[in-house]
């Protein structure tokens, strides 16, 4: 099980970071939405606030929890040059207590009329740096002839 690097935990706090979450639907198809509220609770835990009762994501989270399927989070921050996928497992549905209060208080600063359903708590399983050059290098190591037959064009940044 991976842990979130400190850099990623900080990037999750940045309001300019784009944060999306992908779940699997009942038919086995992916479903992807933005979740601005995603934040790291600690190195192994991420949480977000589900805003709408019985939303597609909420239902999928429940099903993915029962089926022990992973849920993928993708974050992108252009300024910080961070592109990262975080594989997680749904861990807990929190509708009361300190974590719920914390998320609710923050939400109502910007959306005072919102009536959210729950806080979903997710456990980090794997953190993947999706930067092109990092991924490229990984592929070069995985397939020894990659560099030979798919040489890099242009300069490395």
């Amino acid at each position: 099980m991976d842990r979130l690097p400190q850099e990623i935990m900080e990037i999750l706090k940045d309001p300019d970071t784009i944060k999306v979450i992908a779940t699997i639907g009942e038919e086995g198809n992916p479903h992807i939405v933005m979740k601005d509220s995603l934040e790291a609770i600690d190195e192994q835990t991420i949480a977000y606030l589900e805003l709408i009762e019985r939303s597609n994501t909420s239902k999928n989270m429940l099903r993915n929890f029962w089926d022990k399927k992973q849920v993928s989070i993708f974050i992108y921050n252009k300024k910080a040059k961070v592109s990262c996928q975080i594989k997680t497992e749904p861990y807990k549905y929190e509708w009361a207590g300190p974590l719920w209060d914390q998320f609710l208080t923050k939400l109502w600063q910007t959306m005072p009329d919102a009536n959210p359903e729950t806080v979903w708590v997710l456990k980090v399983k794997q953190v993947i740096n999706e930067d092109y050059f990092v991924r490229r290098e990984e592929q070069d190591k995985r397939v020894i002839t990659q560099k030979v037959w798919h040489p890099l064009r242009g300069p490395r940044s």
Binding site: R54, L62, W66, P90, Y93, A96, L104, N115, T118
Partner: protein, 442 residues
């Protein structure tokens, strides 16, 4: 072999499996395998409600140090332990996926699940095997506070997930004539609580209600709806009960306005009450109730009149009850009136129940189909055979788990088919039944 039309349509007409020689774990696994479309935690909730729970002494001791929502009203319990021990018993347990289950303390004869504590974590066990980590609902902040009359607020106002509930009168007048519903223990329990010195206020004071609601709403975002329920007073064609409930709802709405500072703040309030006349529903709605609940308890004229003789006497029998319930729908609108059953009493000893499992489920589902087509939404409370109820006296036993499996799944399939755009958003967090868990997938 009898053919059950609706069960067949829903694909639930399999012959029930004989569980007489099975242990409880084996029975659970059998039902799980037979009905794989039922999510495991929903089936587990059905079984926990069916068998009840017990706590190890170490778990119970650890719980006393926690600030949790605990049973104030002792209703529908199978065991008298919580009445006499003076210990705090959690009102509910919550699984990690959010499944919300009432704690029904049970004696050994029902083979209850056990809640124990291991390494600081609470777990639900069956036959020594840990099944689910469980959590408890944190106590709302109004617990422990007192009204200006000195009453503990949790004795006035109950709490559930997102919900405040009020029992205006903890006495049902049907008991005066021995016409109470056969599964009910309300008056018996109230009498016991008074006898053992538990602080109980049978008839709530409107000013206490105002103060408790006002205080509860200081915890912003915790409580989103309110629900009135309690004993029935049929005198004067229920008008005495209506007048008292209207007096209370006005205090509730005054508290909402004062606590939020917003005259337009909407706290939906619904009342599970007796079936009224149309003009009475209009008055009730104008007083501030958003929805209404008509608790049939069991479907069908013959069973209704046997199981609920008081309701039958004062509401014009089953037909009168149904007619008045349909009028509630006209006044409050589609989706704002719930129809309550007590899942499980279809398997009470005949003549009160049915002798065959499929027959009992078929009857209930026929009722749900009719009601959903009209625009009712489901609520209900799974049957617990409480001391003080008539069914307890005649030695009724809990139905097999397969009964609840077919029932709960069938009800949800019917709601999806015939309800379409409605859902039990009132009492959407009922810990005594599984319809809310199914509805999370609606």
């Amino acid at each position: 072999m009898k053919k059950y039309k609706l069960l067949k349509e829903l694909g639930l007409d399999q012959l029930p499996t004989d569980t007489d020689e099975m242990g409880v774990r084996e029975e659970f696994d059998m039902v799980r395998e037979k009905y794989p479309q039922i999510p495991r935690t929903i089936l587990l909730k059905e079984d926990v409600l069916r068998r009840g729970v017990t706590f190890t002494s170490s778990a119970l001791k650890a719980i006393q140090d926690l600030s949790i929502s605990y049973h104030v009203y002792i209703l529908f319990q199978w065991h008298k332990m919580d009445e006499t021990s003076g210990l705090k018993i959690p009102e509910s347990i919550i699984f990690r996926d959010g499944t919300y289950v009432s704690v029904l303390l049970s004696p050994p004869e029902t083979d209850p699940y056990t809640i124990d504590i291991r390494d600081g974590e609470f777990w639900l066990f069956s036959e020594g095997e840990p099944l689910e980590e469980v959590f408890f609902d944190p106590a709302p902040r109004y617990f422990g506070k007192r009204t200006s009359r000195g009453r503990l607020m949790e004795e006035i106002l109950g709490h559930g997930r997102r919900l405040l509930y009020l029992i205006p009168v903890q006495h049902c007048y049907y008991w005066n004539e021995e016409l109470q519903c056969k599964y009910c223990d309300m008056n018996y329990i109230a009498k016991h609580q008074l006898k053992i010195g538990r602080s109980v206020k049978l008839r709530k004071d409107p000013e206490d209600v105002y103060e408790a609601v006002y205080e509860a709403l200081q915890e912003k975002g915790r409580h989103q709806e309110m629900f009135f329920t309690g004993g029935t007073n049929p005198r004067n064609d229920f008008q005495n009960e209506i007048d008292f409930n209207i007096e209370l709802v006005k205090e509730v709405l005054r508290a909402v306005k004062d606590a939020t500072g917003d005259p337009n703040h909407h706290l939906p309030v619904f009342w599970v009450g007796p079936p009224l006349k149309k003009n009475q529903y209009i008055t009730v709605k104008e007083a501030g109730f958003t929805g209404y609940g008509c608790y049939f308890e069991i479907w069908g004229k013959e069973k209704f009149e046997l199981v609920c003789p008081g309701k039958a006497k004062y509401c014009g029998g089953f037909d009168g009850f149904l007619e008045r319930s349909l009028e509630a729908l006209e006044v409050f609108g589609r989706g704002n009136v719930c129809a309550g059953f007590v899942p499980g009493i279809e398997m009470a000893p005949p003549p009160y129940g049915f002798s065959e499992l499929n027959e009992g489920v078929e009857s209930a589902l026929q009722g749900y189909k009719f009601l959903f087509q009209k625009g009712f939404v489901p609520t209900g409370t799974n049957w617990s055979i409480s001391p003080g109820s008539y069914y307890y006296k005649i030695g009724a036993a809990p139905p097999p788990l397969e009964f609840f499996a077919k029932y709960g799944l069938g009800r949800q399939l019917l709601l999806v088919e015939y309800g379409k755009d409605i859902c039990s958003d009132m009492l959407s967090n009922q810990c005594y039944a599984t319809y809310p868990e199914y509805q999370r997938l609606f």
